[in-house]
């Protein structure tokens, strides 16, 4: 019996029918035809004759729709969703397409899951890095109109001393700039972050403080979240205003958001300060990364600073404050600088001793914001590199999804051809397919935001716990949301346009002939997919190479010789004078601790020193005997006050002369030890030993009794800089750190040493302990963050690329089933089939590897500055990364190749 439904459907296929009524209409019409057919048969007609006659009924079926009432013809909700006519209303079409997009996602859950996951990973990684950029570069200073803020530095007049350095300004000079300038509406001074001791009862803890002048907060234009900031009047007389402003994080974390914080008193370095306000969240002072816990008035310097610095308010020669200033409307940076330089030149004439050779420079506020992080350009470069890298990961993710979409579109060729046949227009179809991509993209974006959030938490978990509340918090704000959304949309277009265009160009006849899978194996879309895949392999190789280069570089950095022996070294930080120790008690404390700890088992040597390794060390002008120069023109050297045995503890070898001894004390001949660099600069002939030097501002002539090897003072792998060591007992009064060399792993004795000190001096806080290995860890902290990011991104890229490779091969094996079946039926061995598929995958991979290697060599140059001297063409990194990639790719192709070789030829032929 003829299938009338089929006949009706075939003829109505091209008609625009309301889909909800379509079935009913087909039912009714075919019932009619059936009745007619039965009647003709029962009237004695032959089947063929009856059939022909019934079909005549369907003549002019193209007019069927034309005769229908508008209600049945008008495209219903279903019709355009299947790629039908545009409704003329873009928004309506779009919403329909979105609905349809969701539905077709649900129909292919595995595809949708992988596509969304892939995109989420790519977008998430990018969002993480962008949050970093948003925090550090886009919003580093949450104050009013930061673009009008400038920093004021003291510099050397050209041709003098170590010019080019940006130095702080002395308090008195700063006050003069403040009072006499006409370019700025406000000038505020701030000190570097200072370690202070906060005590509560007998408990003590480290608290970072910063001295600021009374105009500081006003100049920045911020408002406190609690209480108020400093008033001009209250900070005019030195020592008169024991008031403090807490940072938001200190209030939140240390004081648990105490609502009654304003009015409370804090004992800082033994002085009682009254809290008058809390700074707004996110404000770290003039720094992009590190902020103090508390701001104190500059006029309290004498009460807060160690003895050596107590005269900074009165000594014009002691530069201590950096300055931030707000330009008056209409004044440019150059004009402001010219204005200040006029003041500087009159200060040179007025105070030649302190200001000779000195002038002033006005720099953008970003100079100060990033002064501890290698400058804004360094941060921007690092962020740029990370963004490019994470962009590559995203690109790989996009091309992966594009490949998935193409494969899926090939599977949907029939569906698409049917839509075209029933009158869908290609532009509309393209738009609808693209909308499906957008739906995927937006879902990926939402997932990406979540991953980005977690990524930031992961990234921020690297910050040292003991200063976590002083470090910048990730800024996840509307900018980040907008970025993720824009990224989602942009990626939807990147991965969606090509496949959608391709699919909407589906050849109608070919598509309907169910040749879909045949077209996939070697057709144009197959070529396009191969190009995408080769690109993916190349990009992931670039990332892997970047990661392994960095891994090698960090490894190398760890083996850099800092000039002292970090192994078995431990440093204990404490500030006894901040809990009221005077000079006599301090001297006693230092001697007792040293003797006590040195006698403990497992300790090889003990000493005290004022400087911390890899920390910005104080520099002082040094003059050699008989050389009358002005204060400002002397060679500047790192000065370190150390106890006997210091060089033994540090493992710094003596080149000439002797080390300090117990006899070097007050009353004996003043002595110093200098490093090779200082010796070479002042006595190039090598006759430094026995000569005399004196420090600027101190008339004591000191004899050089020893010369030691250079070592790294401020950072790892630095260029040699002059250094001068003073014996502790000839230079008393500074704050010292305890250096301990253990016979073995210092971790074993850390607790015991700490307990011993606590026993001797219960009030002294010794919470900050660092082993030598941790010192190196900390100095390499940014490098390690970059390394772990690169590692994560490299792995992500490798995973995405190999999943893509696997997918492409598996798909191609499935679509070549018949061909493989034929080959096997004609006698191809299983191993030949295995080789065939493997070769197909590995040829693409080999091409990708070649391109990736070339790319890496090209862009490696940009990297070379960050590699601690490693060549960007380091063969081990290049070969290692390529080997890993080839291995994973081989595995990814082996699985589908194995599947192909295990195919049953007969089944393959039947089903293919």
């Amino acid at each position: 019996m003829p299938d009338w439904k089929l006949e009706v459907e075939r003829r109505l296929a091209a008609q625009r029918l309301d889909a909800s009524r379509r079935n009913a209409i087909v039912d009714e019409l075919s019932q009619h035809l059936q009745d007619r057919y039965q009647e003709l048969l029962s009237a004695g007609a032959g089947e063929a004759e009856a059939y022909r006659e019934v079909l005549e009924e369907l003549e002019n079926s193209d007019r069927f729709a034309a005769g229908l009432p508008a209600g049945l013809r008008r495209p219903g909700r279903e019709l355009p969703a299947q790629g039908g006519t545009p409704s003329g209303n873009l928004a309506v079409d779009f919403l329909r397409d979105v609905r349809y997009g969701f539905r077709s996602m649900v129909k292919a859950p595995a595809f949708s899951f992988f596509a969304v996951l892939t995109l989420a990973l790519g977008i998430g990684a990018t969002t993480t890095v962008f949050t970093l950029v948003n925090t550090l570069l886009l919003h580093p200073l949450p104050v009013h109109d930061p673009s009008r803020l400038e920093c004021v530095y003291t510099t050397e007049v050209k041709g003098h001393g170590q010019s080019g350095n940006l130095l702080p300004t002395s308090y008195l000079n700063l006050k003069d700039y403040q009072a006499r300038n006409s370019a700025f509406s406000g000038v505020g001074g701030f000190s570097p972050p200072l370690v202070t001791t906060l005590s509560e009862g007998t408990a003590t803890e480290r608290f970072f403080g910063q001295l600021v002048t009374s105009d500081y907060f006003e100049t920045l234009g911020i408002a406190p979240v609690r209480g108020r900031f400093f008033r001009r009047g209250e900070t005019s007389t030195p020592g008169s205003a024991p008031v403090a402003v807490l940072s938001y994080n200190a209030w939140k974390i240390r004081f648990d958001r105490a609502p009654d914080i304003v009015g409370k008193t804090l004992a800082i370095n033994g002085i009682r300060f009254t809290v008058i306000g809390v700074a707004p969240p996110g404000f770290l002072g003039i720094s992009a990364v590190f902020g103090p816990d508390v701001w104190l008035p500059a006029t309290m310097a004498r009460q807060v600073l160690p003895p050596a610095l107590q005269d900074i308010l009165t000594d014009r020669g002691k530069p201590f404050f950096e300055a931030v200033a707000r330009l008056k409307p209409g004044v440019s940076r150059r004009q402001a600088e010219a204005d200040l330089q006029t003041i500087a030149s009159s200060l040179r004439q007025q105070y030649p001793d302190e200001n000779a050779g000195r002038t002033v420079s006005v720099e953008p506020v970003t100079t100060a914001l990033f002064s501890t992080t290698g400058g804004e350009r360094g941060v921007a470069l690092a962020s740029g590199v990370l963004l490019v890298i994470v962009g590559l990961v995203l690109l790989i993710a996009c091309s992966n999804v594009a490949n998935l979409l193409i494969a899926r579109a090939v599977g949907r060729r029939q569906e698409i051809a049917v839509r075209l046949a029933i009158g869908a227009n290609r532009w509309r179809l393209f738009r609808q397919l693209l909308t499906e991509s957008v739906v995927l993209g937006v879902l990926g974006g939402i997932g990406g935001l979540a991953i980005g959030y977690e990524g930031c938490r992961f990234l921020w978990s690297f910050r040292p716990a003991e200063v976590a509340r002083n470090m910048v918090d990730p800024r996840i704000d509307p900018t980040v949301f907008l970025f993720a959304l824009a990224l989602a949309l942009a990626t939807s277009f990147i991965f969606g346009v090509a496949p959608s265009l391709r699919a909407s160009r589906t050849d109608l006849v070919g598509g309907l002939k169910e040749e879909a899978h045949l077209a996939a194996a070697g057709g144009r879309s197959g070529r396009f997919q191969k190009v995408l895949l080769t690109g993916q392999v190349a990009l992931s190789l670039v990332l892997l190479i970047a990661a392994s280069l960095f891994l090698r570089a960090v490894e190398r950095a760890y083996s850099i010789d800092p000039g002292f022996d970090v192994k078995n070294l431990a440093v204990f930080m404490m500030n006894p004078e901040q809990v009221g120790y005077d000079a006599v008690r301090l001297d006693e404390f230092h001697r007792e601790v040293r003797q006590h700890v040195a006698a403990m088992p497992g300790i090889a040597a003990v000493s005290w020193a004022s400087n911390l390794p890899f920390w910005s060390s104080p520099s002082r002008g040094v003059e050699k005997e008989g050389q009358a120069v002005r204060k400002a023109e002397a060679l500047s050297a790192v000065t370190n006050t150390v106890d006997v045995d210091y060089f033994k503890v540090m493992g710094i070898s003596l080149v000439q002369g002797r080390s300090f001894a117990d006899g070097d004390r007050e009353g004996s001949v003043p002595v110093v030890i200098i490093n090779e660099d200082l010796a070479r600069r002042y006595w190039p002939q090598g006759d430094a030993l026995g000569k005399h030097v004196h420090l600027i501002g101190d008339d004591t002539l000191r004899q050089i009794v020893g010369i030691v090897k250079n070592s790294d003072y401020t950072t790892l792998g630095e260029a040699p800089q002059p250094c001068l060591f003073l014996p502790m007992r000839q230079n008393p009064g500074g704050n010292l750190n305890l250096y301990v060399r253990a016979a073995d792993d210092p971790a074993a004795v850390l607790d015991e040493v700490q307990r011993a000190i606590k026993d001797l001096a219960p009030a002294v806080d010794v919470s900050d302990i660092r082993t030598g290995a941790r010192l190196i860890d900390q100095i390499l902290w940014p490098a390690r963050i970059v390394l772990s990011l690169l590692g994560v991104f490299g792995l992500l890229a490798l995973t995405l690329a190999s999943v893509g490779l696997y997918g492409l091969l598996a798909y191609s094996v499935r679509s070549r089933q018949r061909e493989i079946g034929v080959r096997m039926a004609l006698g191809a061995s299983r191993s030949a089939v295995l080789r065939l598929v493997l070769r197909q995958g590995m040829v693409l991979v080999a091409m990708g590897v070649a391109i990736g290697l070339a790319l890496s060599l090209l862009i490696g140059r940009a990297f070379s500055r960050m590699l601690f001297g490693l060549s960007p063409a380091d063969p081990l990194a290049l070969m290692g990364a390529s080997a890993v990639l080839l291995l994973v790719a081989l595995l990814a192709s082996y699985i589908p190749a194995l599947a192909a070789s295990r195919m049953e030829p007969m089944r393959a032929l039947r089903e293919g």
């Binding site: 009913a24 209409i25 039912d27 009714e28 019409l29 019932q31 009619h32 035809l33 059936q34 009745d35 007619r36 005549e56 009924e57 369907l58 003549e59 002019n60 079926s61 007019r63 069927f64 729709a65 034309a66 005769g67 229908l68 009432p69 508008a70 209600g71 049945l72």
Partner: protein, 115 residues
């Protein structure tokens, strides 16, 4: 039905509508039934194809003159039966009147010619 340019298309359509409405006046019928009745009563002079009958029916339904309802009878496939609505009856009466007036007018004109 004739092609789009035929000037009496509407008359024919009107006539076809009238035919269907009148066939449904006494009882509900399905499409095939209507088709057969028209062919039989006109002795084969008037014939409807599937592609013309059903659009007509649907249009009448859309205008609220007839109502279609799926009916399932024992031992039979389900069929869609059409019946007249109240509006349909009014329309039938109206069209019948105007049709008769039209036919009379035609008759008179043609009668005069013939006379």
């Amino acid at each position: 039905m004739g092609d789009q340019n035929n000037p009496d298309r509407e008359w024919k359509k009107g006539g076809a509508e009238l035919l269907i409405l009148s066939l449904l006046e006494q009882q509900a019928r399905h499409g095939y039934d209507i088709c057969k009745l028209i062919e039989a009563r006109s002795a084969g002079a008037l014939r409807f194809h599937v592609t013309t009958l059903y659009p007509l029916l649907y249009r009448l339904e859309e205008r609220g003159l007839v109502q279609g309802r799926w009916v399932e009878k024992p031992n039979q496939r389900r069929r869609r039966y059409y019946s007249l609505t109240a509006e349909g009856r009014r329309m039938l009466a109206l069209q019948r009147q105007s049709w008769q007036a039209f036919v009379e007018a035609m008759g008179r004109v043609m009668g005069v010619e013939n006379a």
